[in-house]
Amino acid sequence: MGRSMGKITGVWEENGELAARIQCPAPGVPAPGQYVLASDPADRAAALPYRLFPTAIERDGFSAGPGLPRAWLPGSVLALNGPLGRGFALPEAARRAAFACLDGSPARLRPAITTAISRGCAAILFSGGLEGALDRWPNALEVAPLESLPEALGWADALALAASPGGLAGLRSLLGWGAGKRLPFPAQVLVDVPLPCGGMAECGACAVRARRGYRYACRDGPVFDLDELEW
């Protein structure tokens, strides 16, 4: 889609931080796992656009946050660049999807979870905790502590993760899964790295170590097949 203008139509607090709903043209709405770069043209002090991952997706907009700038008030106009990158593509045939948030906010997994459940898939979210109001999560979602993620190995037929590179480095030991060994089902991971240029500059800030060399999360990700990466 590229550049468009968006408008903040609502803000609220989640865990003491600002979250917002942003209205934008339909082609500007990101799919689960994609991102949008947003700037408030009135904020002269901002050096970079904000990286927004959708936490809820609608036809004419999406929600993002928590962690947005306090100065983003309802009515604010935003310059948007997106949707950018590759989102989640869980197998259509998946019937038991495990989701795991290794660090950061699990809200970034919410649209992928909602999509899976709406396809009739059973879903468990393994996470340190659920942020925000419980009513923002689908009723059908089961939630389990992150430590029990190894149990997903026997149950699930697909896995979607969100993790920083550091969190990803701890995945094998969390699962008790031997070095080099592949998981028994398709797995994808949304990698949490800075995305300052969104690919415009090939700046390299978003580089993620892959099996062969590096991948740039802004363009090749931010969602990768787990086996593409070094983990």
Binding site: G2, L37, A45, A47, P194, P196, A207, Y214
Partner: protein, 271 residues
């Protein structure tokens, strides 16, 4: 103070309607440029930047051998800006040429290739190869932050040849590197992003390049210092609006490079 790039403009600052000739053989249709590292190796697609409004295109830094991203790469925000440490990853000179030279030939504006090298000989090898290339009008030589004045002069001399040469100075080294470069024959310089240090995500101090609107006052000071030495200077640092660019021209710059503001959605139309 040298307040223009072309001979005609001595005594008044350039405006964004002007064509400028910062060095023999180099013509910018407008003084609005991009900084190396801000728009990739050739112009990105999706119409993010209108090529007709850009006076020249500066490529990402290119080294002879491929460079991988730094292990401890990171981005650290601070009030008014951010620190970026990437290690300047690039696929290396041959791969860059293979993927981008045909685009440079069709870009419709002067292409300046930014080169980084550890040795003058390395630099000379790359420059000689570029001299034959269609579309390439000049090279910008990245000088590393702690280079000595003698070394800087040697890098400049290694780069001289058929192409226009722009020495990219660390802005805090204008006063001590400028005269050495002038003695070596350099008349045109640009300003690299200043370096700084902040604790990274793991708490250790990370050194990196600084960007953001907070950098403008230091950049204007460096532009004025370079112009005061009689250098032609392409200004950069903290330019986030047309007004910032006009200030830089008034301070003595002959042209202005916009860097990370493109990523925020800098609009050429604002100028």
């Amino acid at each position: 103070m040298n307040r223009g790039c072309g001979e005609k403009e001595i005594g008044r600052s350039a405006s964004f309607e002007d064509e400028v000739s910062p060095a023999p053989g180099l013509e910018f249709s407008t003084p609005l440029l991009n900084a190396a590292g801000s728009l990739g190796f050739s112009l990105p697609g999706r119409g993010a930047v209108d090529p007709d409004r850009l006076g020249a295109f500066f490529t990402n830094p290119v080294s002879l051998a491929p460079r991988r991203p730094a292990e401890n790469r990171c981005l650290v925000p601070f009030p008014g800006g951010f620190l970026l440490h990437t290690g300047l990853p690039n696929p290396g000179f041959r791969s860059v040429l293979r993927a981008h030279a045909f685009r440079w030939a069709r870009m419709g504006m002067p292409v300046i290739v930014h080169l980084i090298a550890s040795q003058p000989e390395e630099l000379a090898r790359m420059v000689r190869r570029l001299e034959g290339l269609e579309g390439v009008s000049g090279i910008e030589v990245g000088l590393h932050p702690e280079i000595s004045p003698d070394q800087a002069a040697r890098f400049y001399q290694a780069a001289r040849g058929e192409l226009a040469v722009i020495a990219s100075l660390p802005p805090d080294r204008v006063v001590d590197l400028g005269p050495a470069l002038q003695r070596a024959g350099a008349g045109l310089v640009s300003l690299a992003a200043p370096r700084g240090a902040l604790p990274g995500p793991e708490g250790r101090l990370i050194h990196g390049r600084l960007y953001g609107p907070a950098l403008l006052p230091g950049a204007l000071q460096a532009v004025a210092a370079a112009a005061g030495l009689g250098l032609r200077v392409i200004g950069s640092g903290g330019v986030y609006a047309g007004q910032d660019g006009r200030e830089m021209l008034s301070a003595g710059a002959c042209a202005v490079q916009v860097d990370a503001a493109w990523w925020k959605g800098f609009e050429i139309e604002d100028w």
